[in-house]
Symmetry: C2
Subunit: 232 residues, 2 copies
């Protein structure tokens, strides 16, 4: 094993699946490619990992170059290694995902590499044709967040810092693709005691303004070694 290092032609990339939530629907961040293969197609932000950087570092750098987003914590999802996934040969990719507050970012997305024309949010339910196996990667990510959202408070990462209970409920409904009962949802959510009720109300709505809440990370950390379950 020492002397002969085989297969030097194997190389690998990292791809980012970034979820956002606005207007009651889940969105994913895509880039329009400016390079072959799949020039002018939409795809996930993703590129080659340098040989002297960790995959965790690479994926951050790539996201920054492709979209201008910085300081996003991404988690590893899965490594895809089908022989046909890349038209130029055996290139495996390590996919990462993250969920983030779309409000804070909006359309302020600025690629800084010629490989990318632009970056844009796309509703999950209306995705364009995607480069490589990227649709497959996105589907696997959704499975992952559905499983994860049942026992950890990742959903809050998708909301603005201050949110109403209805927004929170809509988010869970979007993730699960399923209506929830308002009273039961609120009862359950408030009982977990991980929200901080603010002295503020929604503004700019033409109906009774709802109270605003914050996710209280300190309370959460104290209380939960346990599990949350918001799936029903």
């Amino acid at each position: 094993m020492q002397s002969n290092l085989p297969h030097l032609q194997s190389i690998f990339t990292a791809d980012c699946v970034i979820f956002g939530f606005s207007e009651g629907e889940l969105k994913v961040l895509l880039i329009e490619r400016n390079e072959y293969p799949f020039k002018e197609w939409w795809g996930l932000p993703g590129f080659f990992v340098e040989h002297n950087e960790t995959i965790d570092d690479a994926v951050k750098r790539i996201l920054l170059e492709h979209t201008g987003l910085k300081g996003i914590y991404m988690e590893q999802l899965y490594t895809f290694g089908d022989l046909q996934r890349h038209p130029q040969g055996r290139i495996i990719t390590v996919a990462y995902y993250a969920m983030l507050r779309l409000e804070a970012i909006g359309n302020n997305l600025k690629p800084s590499t010629d490989y990318v024309r632009k970056a844009q949010w796309h509703p999950l339910n209306h995705l364009p044709d995607l480069a490589f196996d990227h649709r497959n990667i996105i589907e696997k990510s959704i499975d992952k967040i559905r499983r994860k959202v049942s026992h950890s408070p990742i959903a809050f990462e998708l909301l603005p810092e201050k949110f109403t209970l209805t927004q929170l409920q809509q988010l869970y409904e979007a993730i699960w693709d399923k209506k929830l009962d308002k009273r039961n949802f609120r009862k359950k959510m408030l009982k977990y005691n991980i929200l901080k009720e603010l002295d503020e109300k929604q503004k700019g709505v033409s109906y009774r303004a709802a109270k605003l809440y914050k996710f209280d990370k300190r309370k959460y950390n104290k209380i939960f070694k346990n599990e949350l379950n918001f799936s029903k």
Copy 2:
């Protein structure tokens, strides 16, 4: 991207974390290495992925060559890419795990490659020093099976085809490292209605023989889109 394929020095391997259960404890399958680096150390079965095979195929081939085990379904766990994980440079590894019936295999483990001296089961609670970052990989695998065992019936993969309820309970206790109440465990497990009670009893024990059960995959598939939860 088309013309310049960078970083041709990147290569990758696949590692196998195989769990077994016997004598009331969880075990993991290790090999004694016969090659540098880490010659004569214990480590996970693992080797380079060929450039013309999928990772899924590679990991099966490697397990066969290192241990003689065949037809084991492994699931991908995580990809490890720290720069220091391999003394010979940037070699990422895709780790897979599986759980299997130790009884059926016992110590009938036959490496067929010179890279490996022998393969052997080791209790999880008394592991030797391990090559590379293999201890870290094993720990991550345990986290994974703990999470997974709560909502899918993977535990049955560790038991013989016919087992007693006490054996099943001991397995959950080993996975959770926690005692469970016998009556509550049985009540809950039988209520899921995924076991088939056999007309057979345990043999060769010097006390009252227990009924044998089988996991009934057909019933399971019918009933569960839902979740199992055996963690309490």
